[in-house]
Amino acid sequence: MKKELLSGNEAIALGAYAAGVRFASAYPGTPSTEILEQLARMPGVYAEWSPNEKVSLEVGIGAALGGARTLVSMKHVGLNVAADPWMTLPYVGVNAGLVIVSADDPGMHSSQNEQDNRYYAKMAKVPMLEPADSQEAYEMTGLAFELSERFDTPVMLRIETRLSHSRTLVEYSDERRAVDLPYDKDAAKRVMIPGHARLRHPVLIEKLAALAAEAEGFPFNRVELRSPAVGIITSGVSYYHVREAFPGASVLKLAFTHPLPVDLIRSFCSQVERVIVAEELEPFLEEAIRGLGIALSGKEYLPRDGEFDPVVVYTSLQSQLPAEVAAAGAGDWARAAAADPDLPGRPPVMCAGCPHRGVFYILRKLKMVVSGDIGCYTLSVLPPLAGIDCQVCMGAGLSMALGMEKAFSSSAVNAGLARKVVGILGDSTFIHSGITGLVDMVYNGSDATIIILDNSTTAMTGFQEHPGTGVTVLGEKSPALDLEQLCRGIGVSSVRVVDPWDLAATEQAIKEETAREGSSVIISRRPCVLKRPPAKRLFRVLEENCNDCGLCMGLGCPALAREGERPEILEELCAGCTLCEQVCRRDAIQEYGS
């Protein structure tokens, strides 16, 4: 047995490997991304970046039906994309075990919302497990596969950022099970025409009762009786925040959280005077347990937004709980000041040399209405670029533009904006869920202009490959999706490619395409400078020519600092993209070496 500090993500990958997983699919999404990356390095495991989470779950379903234990992982909003197969899959069942890892992001460290995906398990009638640390993540992944096969159901392993990206000690074995199940045809079970589905739903309902009985004895649920004055029910990483904040309280740690082990919960609650449910985000456990007729408190005191830590748990509940169950030092936590709000923030920014920068600079210069999407380019929303007007989900950068253009075109008040609408999204995002929007653009007619920001990678999540890069997660070559051909095949009337490091050409393209009637796609193409660093070129500001007009500062480049009265180019950060040289009207920026 080995013993190592592992992140939750690493532990899940190892647990899946030990359980004999042969198939893994995912689309990159923080905080889940490393699970697939880790599995891709393991011998005997087929791993793929699918174009999006819906596809990743569908191929996963096929693999599981085909007799291979399968792990599909995604961030929370990814399950929104995969919700269609997710909802009918439980009716169909699995064959070999199928575990879906759903990674929430309380506190929105890198997400556009903090939805609580535990409801997905409830909505689909899928059993759900919640590990509290990396050791549990490792062991519960193996148990999840057993559960999946024993009950013929997908299993959700629900994790969150602090499980994914915290590293805790794991004892694990190198051994790997071999699982290779025969395939048999069973259309009545696997083809969900209404006649079949009507018979499968009652099976699923009954299965839930059997799973609830299973939950009662699940080894990672744990009753810890301490003070009888208060019992706190909790799950996941929050268990540890509760233990640290209120070491004297009795605790029911739940790890099997759908369906709930009702007898275990009743028994625990009967042994304490007061019951508190301490869970991040929604009152998922609270409402279910209150529904059993048990009096308790939860969101009356604990926040529904943001992530937990010992301080949040302590300050929310301290007035409600006897002082003797609280941590000795907790008073200091409560007295600690909040961070000084007057200090300048340090938001993440697009890198020096980022190929997206030029596009946003021009869009702002031309005062376009920009419908935006999810990726590094979303960072353009910050001043000075203030580059996008709206952003909701993957692919919406393209489709929202279509709707805006139509609304503006039929408006008197906004008529002037009809030719000003630009929809923007990245190459990986476009393949993820922009293609169908582009079909709408042609099929239902639109004068909007779409810009695909093609930097040849899925950057924000860590430079993963995608169907447009011509390389798979396993490092193998594959046919690269040809964006121009795809757009033309869809019927887009004008498709052109520009280099976003050439501001004049970019401006001309945007002006022409927005003025043109009919559908337009501009592909802004240049590789991400972090993934493919360009040859180093050295630039400096010539003080004698610079009048501090501030035009170059409008680029929002982190390599341009205003030191005293003149901008200065920070050599170690500058990528030599020449945008500042191009915007300068006084020849005050000059190359001097390489």
Partner: protein
């Protein structure tokens, strides 16, 4: 022994690696260890935080605000920003390094003046380190992270051999020598 070390700075300064090395030392010395970090903003100039906790038993992977024993600040503004997380009597080790955030670069905000004085006033005993200079002295500007760890090592009671083992296990071979030198210079400094 228990420890709660909060490392703060800017993406790209090597904080995640430093946290990994410290954690490895604590594991090696037989403690339970938990670390936390937030990914994603690392290469895009955003603030970065890593937490390393060790002890006989470690519960939350997050250090409660007001409970950090040590703040290892790789950059001055982030060091100042994180002061509220330090416990009374805690130690700050701060790198004399300034990296302007975008609002300052753009001229919309001022980089705070007198950070060293403010930190010293809030945490007497603060050690200011010029990790960049130490790294240069050691032969590799990118060994600044190792210099920060050396300064930290001087304030902790882990065996030097455990530090050396952890550095050897984690630092890439070609950078190892300069890193060990920078670590040593800072520890003895």
């Amino acid at each position: 022994m228990t420890g709660n070390v909060l490392m703060v700075g800017v993406g790209g300064q090597g904080i995640i690696s430093a946290a990994r090395i410290l954690a490895q030392v604590a594991v090696d010395e037989g403690f339970q260890v938990k670390t936390s970090e937030v990914h994603g903003m690392a290469q895009r100039g955003g603030s970065v935080q890593s937490m390393v906790r060790w002890g006989e038993e470690v519960l939350s992977p997050l250090i409660p605000r007001g409970a950090a024993d040590v703040i290892l600040a790789f950059e001055m503004l982030e060091g100042l920003r994180s002061l509220n997380q330090l416990r009374a009597g805690g130690l700050v080790i701060m790198n004399r390094k300034r990296i302007d955030p975008l609002p300052v670069l753009a001229g919309d905000a001022e980089y705070p003046a007198g950070i060293e004085e403010r930190v010293l006033a809030a945490a007497p005993g603060t050690r200011i380190v010029d990790a960049g200079a130490l790294a240069a002295q050691a032969g590799n500007a990118r060994a600044a992270g190792a210099a920060m760890l050396g300064a930290l090592a001087a304030g902790l009671r882990f065996a030097p051999s455990a530090w050396e083992r952890a550095l050897k296990a984690i630092v890439p071979a070609k950078a190892l020598e300069a890193n060990l030198r920078a670590f040593d210079l800072a520890r003895r400094g």
